[in-house]
């Protein structure tokens, strides 16, 4: 198999199992230089395992990996200088300050003292951490830790950056700030491979997205193309009390609409044409269900995801609580 330099990352037939568990099965994809590529899937889908194989922290059972044209299965450590990795958990040194951590990481890539101190200061500034520069990393908040971990991942100016669930487990404001930083990386020309289980995040940030479920890519395309099939759908969200069985009752009464619930206070209505609100509200009110609001909503990637994977949004949402959606 030949390396195609048109791609920053090229993966074919990648597979990995842990005993009985097939963590990754037959995964193929290619990431173009400068692209922000999203790897989207629920917890346990095989995202981290894939990143570990791409970065040389795990050995694939089968398949080929080319990074910057280098065959990483034959030479697992040969592409290390091209890549930066931000793991799902911050793994910097708690006893060192933010500044020292960054300088140490730069030194691992052979960057001289003056240059690494200059870059560390620059990054601390860009990531809004200057005030905490001399504090021990161990005392940082989760959001600050994540920001410093990203800074540490790019201090050696990698061509390709791997980000594993960058916004999981941090507060909403920090997550928003991080997404802005990640958007900025792409503008700087860095190829970013990012995993996430937040659909809106992937939709907002990524150029192309691969849905991964159970170790398999079920769908891969640009956000625009992914949204195409649902673009003409009409969606309505009705705020009202719901109960099990309500969607079925409604479906019987309105056969050309489809219904689902979101939590126990929202009803979702889907149709291929415009939805008439009046009859629906009347139907509900006749059953003593008070409707407080009804509004049209824009179809999102969530709808695509549900359609393509058959996985309910709720099961995706309840993964890892405390998530930084905004």
């Amino acid at each position: 198999m030949s390396a195609d330099m048109a791609f920053a990352i090229e993966v074919r037939g990648l597979a990995k199992r842990f005993g009985e568990v097939a963590a990754v099965r037959q995964v193929d994809f290619a990431v173009r230089p400068g692209e922000l590529f999203g790897f989207l899937g629920p917890n346990g889908a095989g995202k981290t395992t894939t990143i570990n194989m791409l970065t040389g922290l795990a050995r694939p059972d089968a398949g080929s990996i080319f990074i910057g044209g280098i065959d990483c299965v034959k030479q697992p450590r040969a592409a290390q200088h091209l890549i930066g990795v931000v793991p799902d958990e911050s793994n910097l040194y708690p006893e060192l300050s933010g500044f020292e951590n960054l300088c140490f990481c730069a030194a691992l890539y052979g960057i001289g003292k003056e240059e690494r101190q200059r870059r560390a200061r620059e990054l601390l500034d860009a990531f809004d951490l200057t005030a905490a520069a001399n504090r021990k990393f161990g005392t940082y908040s989760k959001g600050m830790k994540r920001r410093l971990t990203i800074a540490a991942g790019i201090i050696h100016r990698p061509q390709i950056l791997f980000l594993d669930e960058p916004t999981t487990g941090i507060d909403v404001a920090s997550a928003r700030q991080l997404r802005m930083l990640i958007g900025g990386l792409r503008r700087d020309g860095i190829t970013v491979f990012m995993t996430t289980h937040y659909i809106e995040e992937a939709e907002r940030l990524c150029d192309r997205i691969a849905f991964i479920v159970d170790g398999r890519i079920v769908c891969l395309d640009s956000v625009e193309n992914l949204l195409q099939p649902v673009q003409n759908k009409h969606l309505l969200q009705i705020a009202c009390e719901t109960f099990p069985g309500l969607p079925q009752e409604l479906a019987a009464a309105f056969p050309d609409l489809s219904f689902s619930t979101e939590g126990n206070d929202r009803l979702r209505v889907e149709a291929d044409g415009p939805i008439r609100v009046g009859p629906l509200v009347r139907f509900l009110e006749e059953r003593q269900i008070e409707v407080s609001e009804a509004r049209r909503i824009r179809p999102t990637l969530e709808d695509v995801f549900v359609q393509v994977t058959g996985i309910g949004i709720n099961s995706m949402r309840k993964e890892k609580t405390g998530g930084g959606r905004s």
């Binding site: 922290l57 290390q80 990795v85 910097l92 140490f104 691992l108 052979g110």
Partner: protein, 245 residues
């Protein structure tokens, strides 16, 4: 040059965060002091017995100083995942592990000289063959560091590393001819003694300090070199096999 920067950074960081921390520095000094004091007092200042105890005390100081460090610098960093950062660095794996163990080796050598300095106040050290003593100290430090590395890599918890290293350390104190000659061991245990690296180190040290050794110096030092290479290679192989899943 790039690799040198990385190696130096790893060494300095480990020194700062682990070796030069007050508890470790004092451990490194007090421990050999305690051993030395205990044995020297027992020998009641007899000049002959201090010289015969010195090699054993030096070896024990190195053994304990080095092996206890790897549990932190390697096992702990593996567990806290910061070791992954090192594995991702564009640095040959062998050099990375040498940088990671370098601090422990230096620490062990430094520990070795605590009893030597103490002994210098009590007896005349003019008779020591330094050209053998110093290489022997360095090789014992290397071998015990790599033994510590082997253990640190084989386990996943820090306490396991500590327990497991005692499993090696205490028998070695008695089997390796530190304080009484290997010749006096029951004949069943003798082959075991010669399977342990410290036996050769202790033999060379006894020879350097007071001329009493069983094997030629060249053999002692060569066997130590082989042990170092073997343990290092084995540890690297273990990391590649078990840590890069």
């Amino acid at each position: 040059m790039k690799w040198a920067i990385a190696i130096w950074a790893i060494l300095c960081k480990d020194m700062r965060t682990y070796y030069l921390k007050p508890p470790n520095v004092s451990w490194g000094i007090i421990f050999p002091l305690a051993w030395t004091g205990m044995f020297f007092i027992k020998s009641a200042g007899e000049v002959g017995s201090i010289a015969s105890l010195l090699p054993g005390v030096v070896a024990v100081s190195i053994l304990f100083g080095t092996t206890s460090m790897l549990a932190v610098t390697v096992t702990f960093e593996k567990k806290s995942r910061s070791f992954e950062r090192l594995l991702l660095a564009p640095l040959p794996f062998e050099l990375l592990m040498l940088a990671k163990t370098g601090g422990a080796i230096l620490f062990g050598v430094a520990n070795a000289f605590v009893p030597v300095i103490m002994a210098a106040f009590l007896i005349d050290l003019g008779g020591i063959v330094w050209s053998i003593f110093i290489p022997a100290v360095v090789l014992v430090a290397l071998a015990s560091t790599f033994l510590g590395l082997f253990i640190a890599v084989a386990v996943s918890e820090v306490f396991e590393a500590q327990t497991f290293s005692n499993f090696f350390r205490f028998p070695m104190m008695f089997l390796c001819g530190l304080f009484f000659p290997v010749e006096q061991l029951p004949s069943l245990l003798k082959p075991l003694a010669y399977a342990l690296p410290l036996t050769y180190g202790a033999d060379a040290l006894h020879g350097a300090v007071r001329g009493a050794h069983n094997l030629p110096f060249a053999v002692d030092l060569a066997v130590l070199v082989l042990f170092c290479a073997g343990l290092f290679a084995l540890s690297l192989w273990n990391i590649r096999r078990n840590w890069i899943l």
